[in-house]
Symmetry: C2
């Protein structure tokens, strides 16, 4: 187990319905030393890429992104989330429809902060169905910028987001991939990332959990 997996085992709480609570160290209370270790690990995994900007999404991605940015010596841009948005010409807006949550969310970034010269590392705390992440990728591409990689703290490997993103050819690095949880025993099963070929293929019909389109 790596440092993050160890911490999840120590302080994460498994709840009914495949819920993993990590709010004591990652997304409500934040252990800044752990965030710094994560930043160093992202730097190790993406250090060969010409990254000049980190993009994340409010709220819980911001802390991880800001501490990681110190390892890359680049600025952070955080996307805003909104259920309703007054469109104006100065924003990239991705409309993200969640079939799971039965709602539409907007992911918003001011145009002036993403340009074709940008080489972007996307960072977020959680990846499950990947709706928010698909919105972020869409916005980077709308700007003509390059997604150099995607760094995630915890991926729910039993949901389809990670597979879809990897199948699209992106370098997606999740520091911990949870393949299963047992709310009764509290047991958490992590994917062994030391071996190659972890991506698998998307089963027919399984991928369309969310749908996104750029509005601007």
């Amino acid at each position: 187990m790596n440092f993050l997996e160890e911490r999840i085992v120590k302080d994460g709480i498994v709840k009914e319905g495949n819920v993993l609570k990590v709010d004591s160290f990652l997304n409500h209370q934040m252990d800044i030393k752990l965030l710094d270790q994560m930043g160093a690990e992202f730097k190790r995994r993406f250090g060969n890429k010409p990254i000049n900007k980190i993009l994340t999404i409010e709220a819980s991605g911001i802390g991880i992104a800001c501490v990681a940015a110190q390892h890359f010596d680049v600025p952070v841009v955080f996307a805003k989330k909104s259920q309703s948005i007054n469109l104006d010409g100065e924003m990239y807006v991705a409309e993200v429809e969640s079939f799971t949550h039965k709602c539409i969310n907007h992911v918003i970034v001011a145009k002036k902060f993403l340009t074709p010269e940008d080489h972007v590392l996307i960072i977020d705390d959680f990846l499950a169905n990947g709706c928010a992440l698909q919105g972020l990728i869409q916005i980077v591409q709308s700007a003509g910028a390059t997604v150099e990689g995607i760094g995630i703290a915890i991926e729910k490997g039993f949901q389809s987001g990670g597979r879809i993103i990897r199948n699209l050819g992106f370098q997606l690095e999740s520091l911990a991939i949870v393949d299963g949880m047992n709310a009764e025993t509290g047991e958490i099963q992590f994917r062994d990332q030391s071996t190659a070929g972890v991506s698998g293929s998307v089963e027919p019909g399984e991928g369309e959990i969310c749908r996104s389109s750029t509005l601007d």
Copy 2:
């Protein structure tokens, strides 16, 4: 002028209606080196206090708080904002009524992350009427914890939040206090913080811009 005032003059944009846009370096795109300088300055100003936790509020306070936390070597807790909330016993909830924006917001922190043993530094990016800040103070006090100080990046000195908080006896340190702006010329007038006695007194009737109460 200090480093933050200089940066505001260089990259801030004054808009009609006393709006100061600092989204290119502080609250949409974030200059991490600037955040680090701010963290060092907060440490200089609050270093003599027994701070063991930093409390901020989503979203734009989180980056500043996380980078500052590295200077204090403490964890960060960020409060969540919500217009509607299902109360349960595990949360501190402050109801903050904004007379200015004519709405009620809830500021929420899980009870387990604030205890009577906590000595808290509150950090946020902006202080104007201080509604959110009053909600944070209220939550710290509900938990029996101690507010050791309040660190703000930019205070709008012509609004009442700062005065009210200082009159209540809190050590409030704003790295830049804007006393006036001119949207036509782009000029920004900063308060000279090198002299003592900057707090002033609240004029009758001027203070009651927002009202807050703890629900739990």
